[in-house]
């Protein structure tokens, strides 16, 4: 009894395997036959995927930067030039009395330059700056609650002796606006390029469909199910999508790695997403996109030729 069931299972599995193999063979045969059109289809899908992938990578990094900056929210008050140390101390006391301020630290211009130098790494350009330091004295204000930064900043700005006030929130706001803008542009580009890619895929696969129109007609006539008819074409579409996705990942991955290494040398303070953090979102979005375009294209191509 048990052995009978297992032979039945083995036979079924073997049949599914045989059928799957023949579907894949069909798909790869037409991949070779319509070489030029297939290359065109794969290239257009790849271009669309490059935009998707680039948007994902840039968005990821902007998000990272925004997060880091948000964690460092601090109000910095730059003092007017030419204040005496007594006057500066007076401003410091006044700022310390503002509600919501926890602690105020005076940072002299010399110290500010040193800190900047440390942050930027060893660069020859700083040697010249030591004599003509462009930085003003400043007060670094720690807040009891980072969210009160805009309110505290506006009160501090009104203190006599304060020239200008900045807080990290401005940068965060700008980063968020930039990310949003970028997403919008990327979405529009993606929609446009995906439509173009879809049209090319549909036309490529339609060539195969037309070449095999007679087979499709007979299949339907003798009672093949619509999915049986669709599979080989669907696999062909998925092949194209996957090939384009792999190409796009290779291109984007290379560009990103090279670009990241360069940026880390010139701007080491930028909190960039490392290869390990970037790999999953990139692979996920690009592969997903490739498969979707390939599948949708092939199903659209065969739709008109399926009567039932």
């Amino acid at each position: 009894m048990r052995s009978m069931r297992s032979t039945g299972f083995r036979r079924r599995t073997q049949r599914v395997l045989e059928q799957g193999t023949s579907f894949v063979a069909d798909a790869s045969a037409s991949f070779r036959r319509n070489g030029l059109m297939t290359a065109a289809a794969v290239t257009t899908i790849m271009v669309a995927l490059l935009v998707v992938g680039a948007a994902v990578l840039i968005g990821l990094n902007l998000g990272n930067i925004a997060e880091v900056v948000e964690g460092q929210v601090q109000v910095v008050a730059f003092l007017r030039d030419g204040l005496t140390s007594v006057e500066a101390e007076k401003v410091r006391t006044a700022v310390g009395a503002v509600p919501g301020v926890e602690e105020v630290e005076f940072v002299g211009r010399g110290e500010a330059l040193q800190r900047l130098q440390q942050q930027m790494g060893e660069h020859a350009a700083f040697a010249d700056l030591a004599s003509t330091n462009p930085l003003p004295d400043s007060l670094e204000v720690q807040l009891t609650d980072p969210r009160s930064a805009p309110v505290v900043a506006s009160v501090v700005a009104r203190q006599p002796g304060v020239a200008e006030v900045t807080y990290g929130g401005e940068v965060v706001d700008r980063l968020i606006a930039l990310t949003r803008g970028l997403r919008g542009v990327a979405a529009l580009l993606t929609v446009f390029l995906t439509s173009v890619a879809l049209i090319v895929v549909v036309n490529t696969i339609r060539l195969t469909v037309i070449a095999r129109r007679q087979e499709i007609e007979i299949m339907q006539l003798v009672g093949a199910t619509p999915w049986f008819v669709r599979w080989p074409f669907l696999i062909e579409g998925l092949f194209q999508g996957a090939a384009a996705a792999v190409a796009a990942v290779v291109v984007l991955g290379t560009v990103y790695l090279v670009g990241m290494l360069r940026l880390q040398v010139t701007m080491p303070f930028l909190p960039l997403a490392g290869p390990a953090d970037a790999a999953l979102p990139l692979l996920g979005s690009v592969l997903m996109g490739g498969f979707c375009v390939g599948a949708a294209g092939s199903l659209l191509a065969i739709r008109r030729f399926l009567t039932s």
Binding site: R15, Q214, I218, L221, V222, A224, T225, P226, F228, S308
Partner: protein, 228 residues
């Protein structure tokens, strides 16, 4: 086996191919559907294998109302009947054997049964000695016999033939009629549309005559036309 109840079929271009046709075919019958071109003979068959559905009325195949059949049930319906056409509809790049095996493969028949079933079907149409020939190297009559073998390889109880001798010379036409008669003798119901007066008059089977989409005559052991 087959029943038409008050069936009207209009096409989107306004042509009424069938008008209020009622017809009943019992299991095991052999029926000729005759009439000039454009009188709805092909439409009648298309309603049976659900290439078309009726505008009004109902169509039954083996007791099942196929006019209301959902799309997903159409493959099942077609596995229960065979269809033969004037232009054979063979795949030119595949052998005789492959053409027939194709019909079994695409409906998921067990691979170990395919060989014996194809040989049996070829035997029935008298082509068991040419399984490896390419269809293009065979005569029209032989090609039509391959297409009949493909239609019956699944042992359907109903065989539909749309002008099967339309492209053939008289000798080949007789071969085809012999094959169809043999299949009918095994119990398969056969419905065949034709223009071929000689065949109808010699075989003397049931004749359904259509004119402008209506059944104008339904006669057992009939002739192609009734002389006035």
């Amino acid at each position: 086996m087959v029943q038409f109840q008050d069936v009207t079929k209009g096409y989107p271009n306004g042509v009424l191919a069938l008008r209020r046709v009622s017809l009943r075919v019992d299991p095991g019958e052999f029926v000729f559907v005759v009439g000039p071109t454009g009188t709805g003979k092909s439409t009648l068959l298309k309603l049976l294998y659900r290439e078309e559905s009726p505008t009004e009325g109902r169509v039954f195949v083996a007791g099942r109302d196929v006019s209301a059949l959902p799309h997903r049930a159409i493959p099942e319906l077609r596995r229960g009947l065979g269809v033969v056409f004037q232009d054979f509809k063979l795949l030119p790049s595949r052998t005789v054997f492959e053409n027939i095996a194709f019909a079994l493969r695409v409906i998921g028949a067990p691979p170990q049964e395919i060989r014996s079933r194809v040989i049996r079907a070829l035997d029935l149409v008298g082509l068991a000695h040419r399984p490896d020939a390419m269809p293009g190297h065979l005569s029209g009559g032989e090609q039509q016999r391959i297409s009949i073998a493909r239609a019956i390889v699944n042992d359907p109880p109903l065989l539909l033939a749309d002008e099967p001798t339309g492209n053939l010379d008289p000798n080949s036409s007789w071969e085809i009629m012999q094959v169809l008669s043999r299949i009918n003798l095994r119990g398969t119901t056969v419905i065949m549309t034709t223009h071929n007066k000689m065949i109808v008059d010699i075989l003397r089977r049931r004749v359904v005559q259509l004119a402008a989409g209506r059944v104008v005559r339904d006669q057992s052991r009939g002739l192609y036309a009734v002389d006035a």
